[in-house]
């Protein structure tokens, strides 16, 4: 059977290892996963209750207007419901961006190393990718490339803070950059971890309302998968002017988010205590990872997220990840990003102590 030729260029995405499968494979009693930047404090109590209280409604199709969650997000950000689209994770909004603006004759721009899904979706359409020489976000380099290829570049992805490297631009610098970009180029501000950055340093805070009111060509991406502890429920969102939201809506399949996910997300937004605890613990535990790296003379970039990335000079990140895996610690090897580095999600105090223990033994 012949398939559309563009499929040939697509590699099938291979996901990280599941904890249960790792436990079985290596005969382990305990497996600690510090690989997917999930919330180490679990699901918020309110979100869990919302799921349990609505489990008996699992037979009913979701409210496809998603009005309850849109109302809650509109209130949080002081925007209109018409400025919102909800996706199966913010990944799905990335997919809409790529499909609405790009094709094989166009290009998108990102820094040297950023979230893998931008490129995965772009390659599905044969879209060209421009990356800056610097791995982290450098606005001068980004602007230089944009200027040189502005006829092709119709989307720019800025990941603030950046996954998998952890650095973050100041909001003021981003707004200045946006002033220089043509109105026909869509600029996506991926704020999947922006709450973490904002907590550490308010200068990093992107205000979606201000963003979309100043720039008709900007879209802000948010998610419930990280701070809000709902990685398994697949809920993210895009915030933009109505014109952009309407275009994305044309690409959305009906019922793209489950009814329990919608209920859980509404409840999670209301759980301030859980959010505060997560943010505070994250950065107090992050300090331990920084101190640990200094002790072992490991290079790292100060992180504005819920993970930290260690770079190696002599040791091989693949060997190290595999050794840790066999001892029940899953971290993310970054060789697939072309880096001899690992990304470690900041876990609970206990999980982190286990990481330090196993890492010390195997480093």
């Amino acid at each position: 059977m012949k398939f559309n030729p563009f499929l040939e260029a697509i590699k099938t995405y291979e996901s990280g290892k599941d904890m249960d499968l790792v436990a079985k494979e290596y005969g382990l009693k305990e497996v600690i996963k510090l690989a997917s930047n999930e919330n180490p404090y679990g699901t918020s109590k309110k979100a869990k209750e919302a799921i349990i209280n609505n489990a008996h409604l699992a037979h009913l199709y979701p409210d496809d207007t998603m009005s309850e969650l849109k109302q809650a997000l509109a209130q949080k950000y002081d925007i209109l419901k018409e400025n919102l689209i909800i996706g199966s994770g913010s990944d799905q909004i990335i997919e809409y961006i790529v499909h609405a603006k790009l094709d094989h004759s166009k290009a998108y721009l990102q820094c040297g190393v950023s979230f893998a899904m931008y490129e995965i979706y772009a390659k599905q359409l044969g879209v060209k990718v421009y990356k800056t020489p610097s791995l982290t976000h450098d606005l001068n380099e980004l602007y230089e490339l944009y200027q040189k290829h502005k006829n092709e570049i119709k989307v720019i992805f800025l990941c603030l803070p950046n996954n998998p490297l952890g650095e973050c631009l100041d909001a003021s610098a981003v707004f200045e950059f946006l002033e220089k970009i043509d109105e026909d180029c869509l600029v996506a501000i991926d704020g999947a971890y922006n709450e973490f950055a904002s907590f550490k340093d308010s200068k990093k805070h992107i205000n979606p309302k201000e963003l979309i009111h100043k720039f008709q060509n900007a879209v802000y991406l948010g998610t419930f998968s990280k701070l809000y502890g709902l990685g398994g429920m697949r809920v993210g969102y895009g915030i933009a002017c109505k014109e952009i939201i309407n275009a994305f809506y044309k690409l959305r399949a009906p019922f793209n988010v489950t009814n329990l996910s919608l209920k859980a997300a509404v409840a999670a937004l209301d759980d301030d205590e859980f959010v505060q605890k997560t943010l505070e613990n994250n950065f107090s535990q992050m300090k331990l990872y920084e101190d640990f790296a200094k002790n072992y003379k490991i290079r790292y970039i100060p992180s504005y997220t819920n993970f930290i990335t260690y770079f190696f000079d002599e040791k091989n990140s693949t060997d190290l990840s595999e050794k840790l895996l066999k001892n029940g610690i899953i971290i993310r090897n970054l060789q697939s990003y072309g880096l001899n580095a690992v990304r470690i999600s900041i876990g609970t105090e206990y999980e982190n102590s286990r990481f330090f223990e196993e890492f010390s033994k195997n480093f």
Copy 2:
């Protein structure tokens, strides 16, 4: 801002009315929804328990290999896990079919009136649609159109039984038809309601194993949204030879199904009692709808599904649907399919009695 030109041709999908919103709008205490073919007996006890017992894991990304659910489905159908792909509803598998095989230079074929999502996905790519003159499946007409346009037609959708009309072809006739279709044309057998048809008449039963072993160009679609009572959880699947599954996998975004949906689906497969009760009650209640139609001299097609479609000669289906809506009964008006007809999901005994009551008053 300019978007890709193909977006202009796409109409935004408008979903059915949500019960809570209808209740608010019309100030109703009770709203009965017989519009989306959901399971009127709710969520199976086992599935509900699986959701409740796993709610505390909502922060963890789903196992993207989906091995537990694939194992359960492989066992149910006596096939390999490699013959399976899981989607966010079987809708998502329809999307993969369209995107893997079709573009603006190709066409797909269906009977006169069938599931709306085939055409919605096809239009996103500017794909041509051929429909038979007959509203219901007529294999001779389908074959005639196929023969005439076989250079263009690269996908055929057969909906067995057919949504929204309810009729169903015999499996033996479908297999004979498949013998005559070229290997490069993908034939999708949409079995979303096939369990209902098989229960009523075993001649309607499509055996996915037999189908894919005989035909390398066939894909079977199944869902957990109807019989298995998980419409809100968005789980469906495709069964085909490995070559087709591999092509679809290239189009799949990671984590396309929530972790609680996977757990619920595994549990639902194991709840035979719930499934049996649903099937038995469905057809005993269906009989009441047939008798009711005969009394009122309303035309209907004998249904092999969990819904029945009433056709009107003089009354207008839009007026009637609106009258019922104001009285708290939501049914599906089929004017958008070009039919002066309504589709009514078979509900519980009480729900159906309320439908008969309000229908009698307003007809």
